[in-house]
């Protein structure tokens, strides 16, 4: 019952979503939508044909042999999970080369994002780099300009940290009003991995930064030559030069063979396919820190170097893709995170913020990492307005959308970390709404 219900709802949310797609790109998106629902229908049909597998019958897989070892030398998810994929919103960008995809937060558990589902953000596509032909150079205001091979980098003492990676544009489509009828599209530009590499401070010590060296220019080897100015205090604090994620080498999408990683900071600063670090006495004011990743305020001025991702949270179950069915017991569940440290508390409201209850933090609560929260809930079928509110260890309380808009207006594009509202309808469906 529950199985057949879910695809139906997913189809609906995609249909609703396509209503927002401008006519020029609608055809492509619909094509994808059709493909998407066809595959779901196939799954549904398969389950029907296999109803003999339910008790009291003995299932067919209990009476036969499965596949042997290394039939899949690098394992992939069950074919019944083919719906758990990255998705993009075609009308957001001019093409797929400089674009973004979102992680399927609605399907993920725990705090670690599987490598194949980590959201993608490229400015010139993902290059295919041969690690033997890749070099990392450190130069500028240093005593010893150095050039490292990947083998060199792996000889340094390594560290592993679990940190989220979030695009500062996450949720940016929602500044003016509720637009995306899916958690994947309202919040999916975030992922959380175990990152392994060498501290940037270790490499800087190796090169010997001169006293005038206050900024680090990080530059990628991709066709965008992605470049950002990083203040020396971050470089010496927790910045990492990363070559592995979740136990294996970086995925090409994530900067293979090596990237910069700035915990808690906007994803753009964690330059992928890193080829060069230059030490200077001033910032460079490159395109990604002037034209982009600056935040326009209502007075026409703009904030720059808005590096930190402030405390944020969202309910992942229920959500538009995960509606409730019958009345009864449910777990309201979600994720919270802060670029300024640990999540201290998450509160949940079911009445649009009139009353709040403290949720439980589950599992690991780590600094600058996704943190799971939950609240058991007995649903009596009443409609509601579900919200979550994160508080981090600095005492910062996640703001309401009105509070953010009062200060920033609706044109700052980035860093929209406001409390999110899901409207729970009496049929158990969830709509993306905003409260005034």
């Amino acid at each position: 019952m529950a199985d057949s219900k879910k695809p139906e709802t997913s189809k609906e949310y995609l249909a609703e979503l396509t209503a927002h797609v401008p006519p020029t790109s609608r055809r492509d998106f619909l094509k994808k939508g059709v493909k998407f629902s066809t595959s779901l229908a196939a799954v549904a049909a398969t389950s029907e044909a296999l109803s003999d597998n339910l008790p009291p019958h003995v299932s067919s897989w209990s009476k036969s042999l499965g596949t042997g070892v290394v039939s899949t030398p690098y394992g992939v998810p069950s074919k019944f999970e083919e719906n758990v994929i990255r998705r993009t919103v075609p009308w957001l960008t001019a093409d797929k080369i400089s674009s973004i995809s979102m992680s399927p937060l609605q399907e993920l558990k725990g705090i670690i994002t599987p490598n194949g589902l980590v959201f993608e953000r490229y400015h010139a596509g993902a290059p295919a780099i041969n690690p033997a032909q890749h070099r990392l150079m450190i130069h500028g205001l240093v005593d010893n300009p150095l050039i490292f091979t990947m083998d060199d980098l792996m000889r340094f003492p390594s560290e592993s940290v679990i940190n989220f990676l979030e695009c500062p544009a996450n949720g940016g489509m929602e500044w003016r009003g509720p637009q995306m009828e899916a958690l994947q599209f309202t919040h999916g530009m975030i992922s959380c991995c175990e990152w392994t590499g060498v501290r940037l401070s270790t490499l800087l010590a190796e090169a010997g930064v001169q006293s005038k060296g206050k900024w680090v220019l990080a530059e990628g080897a991709d066709g965008a030559g992605m470049s950002r100015s990083i203040p020396m205090n971050k470089a010496l604090d927790d910045a990492l030069i990363v070559y592995a994620q979740n136990g294996e080498k970086l995925r090409p999408e994530q900067g293979y063979p090596v990237r910069l990683f700035n915990p808690g900071w906007e994803g753009n600063t964690s330059v992928k396919w890193l080829r060069r670090l230059k030490i200077g006495d001033k910032p460079w004011h490159h395109r990604e820190e002037t034209s982009k990743y600056t935040d326009l305020m209502p007075d026409g001025r703009s904030r720059r170097f808005t590096y930190e991702q402030e405390a944020n949270s969202v309910i992942t179950s229920p959500c538009p893709e995960n509606p409730w069915g019958q009345k009864g017991s449910y777990e309201i569940e979600g994720i919270a995170w802060s670029g300024r440290g640990k999540i201290k508390q998450v509160d949940v409201s079911i009445d649009g913020g009139v009353t709040w209850r403290p949720a439980k933090l589950k599992g690991l609560v780590l600094t600058k990492a996704l943190t799971r929260f939950c609240l058991p809930f007995k649903w009596d079928g009443s409609p509601g307005l579900l919200q979550s509110r994160a508080i981090d260890e600095t005492g910062y309380v996640q703001p309401t959308l009105s509070q953010l808009r009062n200060v920033r207006g609706t044109n700052s594009i980035y860093h929209k970390n406001s409390i999110h509202t899901w409207q729970l309808q009496s049929n158990g469906k969830i709509k993306n709404v905003q409260l005034k």
Binding site: A94, N144, F148, G300, E308, G352, V354
Partner: protein
């Protein structure tokens, strides 16, 4: 050569190696290679290499970014952020064209072509005259209209209270649908 660091890992980067990759430009003009390009040369190069995406007048074709226009639009409901209306430094334009443009053929332009195209984009924004020639010596002196309108991150800028009960009047809640 200087003594290498604590671990002695890595090789000294040679002057030639550094020179091949050292492409970054700063607002004060530091990093600019020798070269020059006129608005007129830029017009030709722009029309050949840039206009199919960015439009003949920098207006932007389809979803591709506009480069010119939008003066005094930054406080409007729909601001138009372009090189002329928004970008604080001309150096950024030179640096970005050089490292990443044309979109399908990055790092394919010669320094003189980058000077010329930069000059032309500045001209499209009414920031230089038609007879202007951009060089490594005058780029840093070009003043961009929006240069003084950027400031450092001053967040946190909200102060939500952790209210638990009777936090607002439920009758005042207005639900905005998509």
């Amino acid at each position: 050569a200087a003594e290498t660091g604590r671990y002695g890992i890595g090789k000294t980067a040679t002057i030639e190696e550094i020179a091949g990759w050292d492409i970054d430009i700063r607002p004060d003009g530091k990093g600019l290679p020798k070269g020059k390009g006129s608005v007129l040369q830029g017009e030709e190069a722009y029309e050949a290499q840039c206009a199919s995406c960015h439009g003949l007048f920098g207006e932007g074709e389809g979803r591709w970014p506009p480069l010119a226009g939008g003066e005094d639009s930054l406080t409007e409901d729909r601001p138009k952020k372009t090189v002329g209306s928004y970008w604080p430094y001309a150096s950024t334009l030179w640096d970005y064209i050089n490292r990443a443009m044309p979109f399908s053929a990055p790092q394919s332009l010669t320094p003189d072509e980058v000077y010329a195209i930069t000059a032309y984009v500045l001209y499209l924004n009414d920031l230089v005259e038609k007879g202007f020639v951009l060089t490594q010596d005058n780029l840093a002196s070009i003043e961009m209209p929006n240069v003084n309108n950027f400031y450092a991150d001053d967040r946190p800028d909200t102060n939500n209270e952790r209210c638990m009960k009777n936090c607002k009047d439920p009758r005042n809640i207005e639900v905005i649908q998509s």
